[in-house]
């Protein structure tokens, strides 16, 4: 009883927090489940509502009502705009959407700060609510109780619409079978737009009402997005009630958990998410394997894999080139003309990289060094995303292991570069081997979420384990790395840069050799037709684990270089933002292109730190513009530039060829047809009875 008494306030807080998350996450879940939009700018919609509400709040009921109306309307319009923005991407999979919505979130965040300032806005609730009431002997803010009531009403209204109205039936039908919805005369596109607008309105309303709980500030969007992603993942996409339970659970972890077990609280959330996902993908394993070529499967994850496969194009025309030397494929390949053409971008890049120190000032050289380190991280993401088919947001974890290993080695006096590199790679590989089994069973967006959890958990460890990582302060002041045995520690930027360049070239060359050997085809086969590979006797799981370990080692090398070039290390260097940038660099590069990933990473670092140097404070805005522009201008990423140049991209490409440029044949309502088209006419549609879950 005493325990209950002590924790009553946080427990009630948890309910309020959970309800807030439910309203936000329900929109995210709807958008994903029904409209197939992975909306990484959902947190921004909340922030729009929160800022508007805070700005219009003046301590009166009228201010609250006006704020509610304006905030909801603004976010609703933003949601509808999002629907229009994502419409041209309908055939391009979730990674393109992630790139777009993440870019929009960055732009939106920057604009909100321009408009409302960088400080947290105070919220003035009506005076009646701005007091405390007595709750079982505790003082409790009246507004929160009031909020609980309003959130319950909002949730009930949403549930009623979804489950009791014709409109709600159309939404659920669209999630189930958009083609058949169209066949009953309803436009799936209109339903999608409606869903995204409604999701925006929900987020906006939650923002206005929740502003006194999660206030509007620079970190709001990311915080809200993360928490609602966790809720959606925990709740699954099937039922509102599961989402509700997950939201309240997350709310309690964030409030009650912190008050009961403060030391565990940072881990609880993402550990729970990882556990649920891993168990779920394990449980579903035999059926998942039975899906066969997942490209035409009905679930979004399988669709993503299919589309991912479609994102890969350059190798198609590569294989169409006349075969050169057939024999000694991998080491002693005599470069023919085609091979030179193929290697040309790489060689040009190498030349530019070698010449850089002569061209740039010290700061820029050091930036270029960081870009190379991040480039290695991006290459490791390419190996997983583009080759193994495991889109990852968690490569910052082995990256962090490598980075902290190097920093600690240096601190302990082990300053020889090669030793640092090898030991960091080893540590990262061991880490990847340990977490690998949790990753390789899952596919598609589930992998994104599991790896996100791994990355966040690693981040939490970094923050907690102060003796090794220095906690939030980070590590600084360790001895500089020696390039060669016995040499002096490197201090000059150009020295450091050359060291980083040599290591990066070796690492990238090794990666390319392996990926272009038949081993790369084993991975391509696994991603392209996993069922066929299994049925042909390939131990697919083992391949993926090996790929995961190698990618981990590569990320570890990147981390080591990052420390060497920066001479300090903070948790932000291995945080979610870096993970997202690495993945987006890969998408910008064209998903399966190693050189594309390197260029993508370079582009991101240059935009964020170099271009933004002349317009301080607007790095995120510029990055956002870069992401959004890439999505529309380069549908195949940087690698598509070369494919287009050779004129080989067009004829007879795969059906899932991601040529979905804006306004392409994907007219309203037919945007979902390719899935059915991929099925030969003889394929019986799954009998709905088969979908019935126990």
């Amino acid at each position: 009883m005493e325990l209950l008494d002590a924790h009553l306030v946080p427990a009630v807080d948890g309910v309020a927090f959970g309800l807030l998350l439910f309203v936000v996450a329900a929109g995210l879940s709807l958008a994903f489940g029904t409209a197939g939009v992975l909306n990484l700018s959902h947190g921004t919609l909340y922030a729009i509502g929160a800022y508007t509400g805070a700005e219009l709040s003046d301590g009166t009921w009228g201010g609250l009502a006006l704020g509610l109306a304006a905030g909801t309307a603004a976010a609703c319009v933003a949601g509808a705009g999002l629907s229009a923005a994502t419409a041209p991407l309908a055939r391009r999979g979730h990674l393109a959407q992630a790139l777009l919505t993440f870019g929009l979130a960055l732009i939106g965040g920057d604009l909100l700060i321009q408009f409302f300032g960088a400080d947290e806005l105070p919220v003035r609730v009506p005076e009646v609510l701005d007091s405390s009431v007595t709750l079982l002997g505790h003082r409790y803010p009246a507004y929160r109780l009031c909020f609980i009531v309003m959130a319950v009403l909002l949730a009930a209204f949403g549930t009623w619409v979804l489950t009791r109205t014709r409109m709600g039936a159309a939404v659920r039908a669209a999630a189930d079978d958009p083609q058949m919805l169209a066949a009953t005369g309803h436009s799936p596109r209109a339903v999608h737009t409606g869903v995204l607008a409604a999701a925006g309105a929900l987020a906006g309303a939650a923002g206005v009402l929740g502003a006194p709980i999660i206030g509007p500030g620079p970190g709001t969007s990311e915080n809200v997005l993360m928490l609602s992603l966790v809720v959606v993942v925990l709740g699954g996409l099937r039922s509102l009630w599961a989402t509700f339970a997950a939201a309240v659970a997350v709310g309690e972890v964030q409030t009650l958990g912190v008050s009961v077990a403060p030391e565990l609280a940072p881990y609880l959330l993402f550990a729970a998410m990882a556990a649920v996902l891993v168990l779920r993908s394990r449980f579903a394993e035999p059926a998942g394997a039975g899906h066969g070529s997942a490209a035409s499967g009905p679930d979004p994850v399988a669709r993503l894999r299919g589309r991912l496969a479609g994102l890969k194009r350059s190798s198609v025309w590569r294989d169409r080139l006349p075969r050169r030397n057939r024999a000694p494929a991998w080491l002693a390949r005599l470069p023919g003309r085609a091979a030179w053409w193929r290697a040309a971008p790489l060689l040009v890049l190498l030349g530019v990289l070698i010449a850089l120190p002569a061209l740039l000032d010290a700061y820029s050289i050091s930036l270029a060094g960081s870009a190379l380190a991040l480039g290695l991280l991006a290459v490791s993401v390419t190996v997983l995303t583009g080759y193994a088919g495991l889109p990852t947001l968690g490569q910052t974890a082995p990256f962090a292991v490598g980075a902290y290993a190097t920093a600690n080695l240096a601190d302990a006096g082990w300053t020889m570069g090669p030793v640092q590199i090898v030991l960091s790679a080893l540590a990262a590989a061991v880490f990847a081997a340990v977490v690998g089994p949790a990753v390789i069973r899952a596919r598609g967006t589930t992998v994104l979420m599991i790896t996100l959890a791994i990355g966040e958990l690693t981040g939490a460890v970094v923050n907690q384990l102060k003796s090794v990582t220095g906690g939030a302060d980070g590590l600084v002041g360790f001895p500089a790395t020696q390039a060669l045995w016995g040499g002096e520690g490197m201090l000059e930027e150009s020295e450091l840069y050359n060291y980083v360049l040599v290591v990066a070239v070796v690492a990238v060359a090794l990666t390319l050799l392996v990926l272009r050997s038949p081993a790369g085809k084993l991975l391509t086969g696994t991603r392209g037709a996993e069922a066929r590979m299994r049925a042909s006797g390939h131990p697919v799981g083992r391949y993926l684990l090996v790929a995961h370990i190698c990618a981990g080692a590569l990320a570890g090398v990147g981390g080591s270089l990052m420390v060497t070039v920066q001479q300090y290390l903070s948790p932000a260097d291995v945080g979610f933002e870096i993970a997202a940038f690495a993945l987006l660099a890969v998408v910008i590069g064209g998903t399966t292109s190693v050189i594309g990933a390197l260029l993508g990473a370079g582009l991101i670092v240059a935009t964020r730190d170099w271009v933004a140097g002349s317009w301080p404070g607007h790095g995120p805005l510029l990055l956002g513009v870069l992401f959004v522009a890439t999505v529309y201008v380069l549908p195949r990423g940087l690698a598509g530039l070369r494919g287009g140049g050779s004129g080989g991209g067009g004829q007879g490409g795969p059906p899932s060829d991601p040529t979905g440029s804006p306004g392409a044949p994907g007219a309203p309502g037919t945007s979902d047809t390719p899935r059915a088209e991929d099925q030969p006419p003889s394929a019986p549609a799954p009998t709905p009875a088969g979908k019935a879950s126990p």
Binding site: A183, P681, P688
Partner: protein, 242 residues
């Protein structure tokens, strides 16, 4: 009246359906028979607007609806009963009926007959007993009835039936045959697609045999009923081939 001229469609850049000409006058049943993979479902999907033809036209009472998205062809009066039923697993029968009910626009007197949920339930009384059940919980036969009800509630001029008896017990097959005939009697043009000739022979005024996406035989239903040898020869040939 549904009219297809030179209809050509396919996937993966490959053509599945080659220049098919076909017409279904109002109030009649036109059956398309062919083996799996002959292009039957491609035909149905193309007419319904779920696929875009690469050539040819689809006309509905003289109006060109070629390549229109599915919801527009549906509103124009083409009802689809898809292969595999594809009822909405999570929606109750009642919700199916409410969602699909689309009365014709005021003044639109060209519809052969107007269907309301009440009238559909009169025709398919079994659905009335299962109004609260979700699509996934229905039996195969009930799902087929529901798919038919869903198509009828748009008061269609043309009804596309894609293997409506697939996986159903013989008793239900005969029931579906009878329904098809009843609906044609209402003035609806029915395009029936089926792998087995039995149903086609039973109900159709005209039969088309489709082989590898091309028409290989067309004959009147009465002739087929009198003597099915020709029909069977056309189908046999396609199976063992060469």
């Amino acid at each position: 009246m549904l009219e297809l001229t030179g209809l050509t469609a396919g996937y993966h850049g490959g053509t599945v359906l080659h220049g098919l000409d076909l017409s279904v006058p109002a109030g009649t049943v036109h059956a398309v028979v062919g083996h799996n993979g002959a292009g039957k479902t491609t035909l149905v999907h193309t007419v319904a607007g779920l696929m875009r033809p690469s050539a040819g036209t689809v006309r509905l009472d003289g109006r060109d609806v070629t390549g229109q998205p599915a919801h527009r062809t549906a509103r124009a009066g083409i009802g689809l009963v898809p292969q595999g039923r594809r009822v909405f697993a999570g929606l109750t029968v009642d919700e199916h009926l409410r969602l699909s009910y689309r009365p014709p626009r005021r003044g639109d007197t060209t519809r052969p007959s107007v269907w309301t949920p009440a009238r559909v339930l009169e025709l398919l009384p079994r659905l009335g007993e299962r109004r609260g059940n979700r699509g996934a919980d229905l039996s195969g036969g009930e799902q087929q009835m529901l798919a038919l009800a869903r198509a009828l509630l748009g008061s269609p001029r043309v009804l596309l039936l894609d293997e409506p008896t697939e996986g159903l017990a013989p008793v239900l097959v005969r029931q579906i045959d009878a329904l098809v005939t009843t609906l044609a009697a209402e003035g609806i043009a029915v395009l029936l697609v089926s792998p087995s000739p039995a149903q086609a022979v039973a109900c159709a005024r005209t039969l088309t045999v489709l082989t590898s996406g091309r028409m290989t035989l067309r004959l009147a239903g009465d002739d087929a009923r009198a003597d099915a040898t020709e029909l069977h020869a056309a189908l046999e040939l396609t199976a063992t081939g060469a």
